[in-house]
Symmetry: C2
Subunit: 399 residues, 2 copies
């Protein structure tokens, strides 16, 4: 059996960044760029008026000058600014040749066809020189850069309509377990409704993965293999249940039949010791236990790490530090991961108090459903004491 850090390392070694692909710009936000993008021309592409006012020569400061033309944004200036003559101009319009400055409207006094300029006009005031923001041919976005809305604006500006990115992997969830019924069926006394399917699909959607597929397989090797075949175009397949060593634990057998190689099976962690990770060419398989707490941890810690590696992100979110609100027991040989709720401590500070959310049973999802983070307790005899400063990782937004 390996420990959770070794397990994470093996997942990351086997999850390769996906093949770069070209997508429309409006689908690229949040992804990482896989190419360098250069400016198609200077920006501004012309000498740009930065305010509504008058395009003037600085030597005309203090004088009344003739308004020779009006220049609107989007139009070529069909006039020349010379001594004694100016152009009325709008923000964003190209300054006519000869312009040395744009004087703001409120600094000048209009007098019919003339305008009286202020006493001091410095050359360059109120204008942005051509190329002053960005030179034609210079790199405006680099490989590996995350495409934020600001980067979208830059790319749109330079005429990019499709970009080469590291796409998000496709994913399928295959639930198993003869006790599970789908949400639209009334369970018998011995049955329960499937909660892992909806939860894992929500986690995949939360990471922006495109249209996660959810299949349920009966508890036979044949049915599981059939589901694996239906999911064979998915980069990641997450299976739940059937991963222990009981007579009904058929996922390892089904993966073997399907031709996948098991990288590891069983991790020294609680919950989710029977975790299985397998690979077939570049396709990755995660066998998560059916226990919903184990399935949540399995996706949060291992599947999400693979997704981040494939999209060029740092493999794990940075932990925060907080003060433990209550003691947490250790679990001997296993690392314990505990769903918890971090709260501001005190509410107006930047510190966090971390409240471990205890489950009534090892599969109880009700008590910890308000969790926003995980803390962990290293293996050993001693747990963590209340007041200890501990690292934790967010699973949702702070409140």
């Amino acid at each position: 059996m390996i420990d959770p850090d070794e397990a994470l390392q093996l997942v990351l070694e086997n999850a390769k960044p996906g093949q770069a692909s070209r997508v429309p710009l409006d689908e690229a936000c949040g992804l990482r760029l896989a190419e360098a993008v250069r400016a198609d021309r200077d920006y501004p592409p012309f000498v740009r008026a930065m305010m509504d006012g008058y395009a003037v020569r600085s030597e005309d400061a203090g004088r009344a000058v003739i308004i020779a033309a009006q220049v609107a944004a989007g139009r070529e200036a069909a006039v020349r600014v010379a001594a004694g003559r100016c152009a009325e101009i709008m923000t964003g319009a190209p300054c006519p040749p000869g312009t040395e400055a744009v004087t703001a409207k409120e600094r000048a006094r209009r007098d019919g066809a003339r305008v009286v300029l202020p006493e001091a006009i410095a050359a360059g005031d109120g204008i942005a020189a051509q190329g002053s923001e960005c030179r034609a041919g210079s790199v405006v976005a680099s490989p590996g850069e995350r495409i934020t809305p600001l980067v979208v604006a830059v790319l749109a500006t330079v005429g990019v309509r499709t970009v080469c990115v590291l796409p998000r992997p496709s994913l399928a969830v295959i639930t198993t377990g003869p006790e599970l019924v789908p949400p639209d069926r009334q369970p018998s006394t011995a049955q329960i409704r499937d909660s892992n399917g909806p939860m894992l699909v929500a986690m995949a959607r939360g990471m922006g993965l495109p249209g996660p597929l959810h299949l349920h397989a009966d508890d036979t090797v044949g049915a599981i293999v059939q589901a694996l075949q239906r999911a064979s175009d998915r980069a990641i397949v997450v299976l739940t249940g059937g991963v222990s060593e009981g007579a009904y634990d058929l996922v390892p057998k089904a993966l073997e039949t399907f031709g996948a190689e098991v990288i590891f099976h069983k991790v020294l962690q609680k919950p989710g010791k029977p975790l299985l990770f397998a690979r077939k060419a570049s396709q990755l398989f995660f066998g998560l236990p059916g226990n919903p707490l184990a399935a949540h941890l399995g996706f949060h810690r291992y599947v999400a790490a693979a997704v981040r590696r494939m999209t060029g992100e740092a493999p794990a979110p940075e932990p925060s530090l907080g003060r433990l609100a209550a003691p947490v027991q250790a679990d001997g040989q296993r690392t314990r991961f505990v769903l918890s709720r971090a709260r501001r401590d005190p509410p107006d500070s930047t510190g966090w108090q971390v409240h471990p959310l205890n489950s009534a049973t090892s599969a109880d999802l009700f008590s910890p459903s308000g969790a926003n983070c995980y803390l962990w307790v290293p293996p050993g005899e001693r747990g963590l004491e209340a007041g200890a400063v501990v690292p934790f990782v967010w699973i949702g937004d702070a409140e």
Copy 2:
């Protein structure tokens, strides 16, 4: 003119939480619940085996007992566990009547049709009592609670297929500006490509808003009013450009013609002084300047706050604290908002160093496109010095 805090306050006063509506559970993740949800039955609904093993009486500890039945998950147990008799049982299966404990397979020794039990068996070991995780009728999720994947799992468990939530508002972006051409057209020397449209749509999508609409209106009151009419089913309309006081600044006039009431126009901030906010019944209108830096700040600070209020979230993200890497000048009467990049300081600590990203001109989007946060400089003569500890708010993920 009002200051940025008053402006934000006015936006929040006019943005009411949307009318609660019922959506399918698989579209609800990330939203806030607008109803209480109760458990439809006890959980577990039966005495559940927590491991693969043998359902036994504790008095049989140390004895060889007959395996009277096999109980799989999902099936009723058609047997009774009595002294000298046990049932082989799978994780998740209902324990037969009479069961006092489930002994793990690996703690017992199988001997044909019998099994030799360990020396000590405590009643309750290896089983979860009916209702021990949650009682029928108890509240499992409350109004105002955010629907995380864990909550999705809880709701799916208790049979919820649709939930009453505060939905995300619909939004339209109307860009104006005669110098703008859409991304698929080659701009003339005097024209530039529209970048505000794609940027604002990306920001709206980033907040999960459903299918943001993007319209471009020519610079006439009639064209802008027509676009407002096309967007009349949208809860929020964001206009860019045409909001100053020039002859071509027609947005205020168009909004008046459309019947919207201006709540404020002009805010003591940089960038984005001409910001306009208007309302018509419950429909909100934000007139953002055409300058892309001003448009970004306008969405980040005001539009996003309205969206958060309407979806029941805290109106503003909590600021973080960081150490300023370079001085930043103040702007007299206006509060300056500066796109910046926060980095770990040092990389392995939990502190942040905040690098203000200076623009070459007041409309330059290229230099600050790598920003991940905003810092702000209060009005006054004195700016902020390098090394000062300053609050900042994230606009994207930390790295």
